[in-house]
């Protein structure tokens, strides 16, 4: 049985490699100083999707991402690894969305894509770590969900069998299609880019990107339709503006601060024998160790 699979992927700032210039003097984030990457767990999800496609010939893998224009990069990364197509949800009205408004937008786009069997994404994104979008999308679509997936074991007769993490262990569960699945970072890593696919899709662009660049080969996009990446606005997915972006977000950020730790009076010592020995003796004497 061939499957229609949608991968939810997010472009995120690489919060794992935050340098000293990542925060501005006023305590806000200097996004320009952080490289934008494919959210790591979404890559694990993409791999599970591609494996399903390998196992079920005729299946399609669609990348769905929401973000600013530059998030089209996520779709190209997906195409380079074996996805078939992708959609970029981009609109000023989506800005400032919390997890619920994000889920609403993604769910409307998934409805527009239509007739999906498996919707799969990373467990959480590294810029928020909330793990909320997957279950919220599932609820909005009226589908059940399997979170913290380690491996999709099999799909047969309209049912999917998944190994997943639970608190302190693992379990194997089975549920009906269509379904939403979120994948853990400990799942199999994503396959690398495929050289042939990179050649095929390296010029793939959204309409906005085409308008920005000086295109020498405009006819290329007429001849090879797969190079045209689709952008969707709120209107394109029949979205309700009141449920999008900031206005559709029940949570509001009241305050953001850089915490300044109450500095303790501390003692700095070097790494010489004498200094380390004195410290150890002191810790033994006051029964901190030993």
């Amino acid at each position: 049985m061939s499957l229609k699979i949608v991968v939810l992927a997010k472009q995120v700032p690489d919060t794992r490699n935050v340098g000293k210039d990542a925060m501005k003097a006023d305590g806000t984030i200097n996004r320009a100083a952080l490289p934008a990457i494919f959210n790591p767990e979404d890559l694990n999800a993409l791999e599970q999707a591609l494996r399903l496609k390998d196992a079920h010939p005729g299946s399609t893998v669609t990348i769905l991402t929401m973000g600013p224009g530059r998030a089209a990069e996520i779709i190209r990364e997906g195409l380079f690894r074996g996805a078939d197509n992708g959609y970029l949800l981009t609109d000023r009205a989506f800005a400032g969305a919390d997890t619920l408004a994000t889920s609403y937008a993604l769910a409307t786009a998934i409805k527009k894509i239509g007739a999906c069997d498996v919707i799969i994404g990373g467990r959480q994104a590294i810029d928020g770590d909330t793990a909320q979008v997957g279950p919220q999308v599932a609820e909005k679509l009226g589908m059940t969900q399997i979170t913290y997936a380690e491996e999709i074991i099999a799909v047969a007769d309209g049912r999917i069998k998944v190994k997943r993490h639970i608190d302190g262990g693992v379990e194997t569960v089975e549920g009906p299609l269509p379904i939403v699945i979120t994948v853990n970072g400990s799942a199999a890593p994503c396959r690398p880019r495929n050289a042939k696919l990179v050649q095929k899709y390296k010029h793939a662009k959204t309409i906005t990107e085409k308008q920005q660049g000086n295109l020498d080969y405009t006819d290329l996009y007429d001849r090879r339709d797969y190079l045209n990446l689709v952008e969707w606005s709120v209107a394109d997915v029949n979205g309700d503006l009141a449920q999008c972006g900031l206005s559709g977000s029940p949570t509001k950020v009241k305050a953001v601060q850089n915490i300044v730790f109450q500095a303790k009076e501390n003692k700095t010592i070097g790494s010489g024998d004498r200094e380390i020995e004195d410290l150890i003796v002191e810790l033994l004497a006051n029964h901190t160790i030993g």
């Binding site: 909330t130 997957g134 279950p135 969900q145 262990g169 950020v253 730790f261 070097g270």
Partner: protein, 324 residues
Amino acid sequence: MDVSLELLTKGRSLANQLKCQLEAIVIGKNLKGIEKDLIPYGVDKLHVFEGKGLYPYTSLPHTSILVNLFKEEKPQICLMGATVIGRDLGPRVSSALTSGLTADCTALEIGDHEDKKEGKTYKNLLYQIRPAFGGNIVATIVNPEHRPQMATVREGVMKKQILASNYKGEVINHDVKKFVADTDYVIEVIERHVEKAKNNLKGSPIIISGGYGVGSKDNFKLLFDLAKTLNAEVGASRAAVDAGYADHDRQIGQTGVTVRPKLYIACGISGQIQHIAGMQESSMIISINNDPEAPINTIADYVINGTVEEVIPKMIKFYKQNSK
């Protein structure tokens, strides 16, 4: 689970501040007598849902119970453990009720909120405080308009405390069928394997913890050597876990375990808020770091200016020499 008891204690103090009741929900099987374990934490009303399909946990039946109960009871606040179950269930419930949810809070407070744009003032909202953006900032989140205000909290962040062993609370045994449709039981749990935790980070009085600055998985072995010598546990920062130096179950911080040991030795840890949130209440902190500017040094009692490779073997050597 401990985190639920910790949240009962936190919930009790919030309820006292708001002058309202603390209610708790328990869902599962074989729950007879469960009230004896819960009501002493100050629970005024305990909702019990007992049924065959309710254990092991699956998403939809639990969601239906919470959503339908919340529609009746209209709670202003809902707290949940940020366990795998809580993180599966919380967002689903919040979506169904279009109420906001904040994950992995490290502090919960009551306070007012003024929306200057709308010219509205809100009294007694739940401040949901959490590190965000990889732990580089701390955000205070509020849900002005939507109820319940939902938050999840990791185990160990709050402290549990029995209020009174003879506390009087009401127990309500609900009819599960009135809350859950048969069609909700769609996920079948085929096999389940729960292991005992591989480490005892939460209970260990001494923790040797390593960060990205440890440099390699090989160097991490030095931490295990020191831990063995001092009868301690080994923890890790998120950066060290991401780099593959240590297993995920050793991660200390907002998205890992919160610890309060007698002694915390931070090796090559720079000290992002996300990490500090999980260890700042340690009685004594020693930082081993060759960067004198590392933020963790500001909360350390002792800073050893040096590398893990040179300092740890010396600590082991001098401990062995002096401890007899």
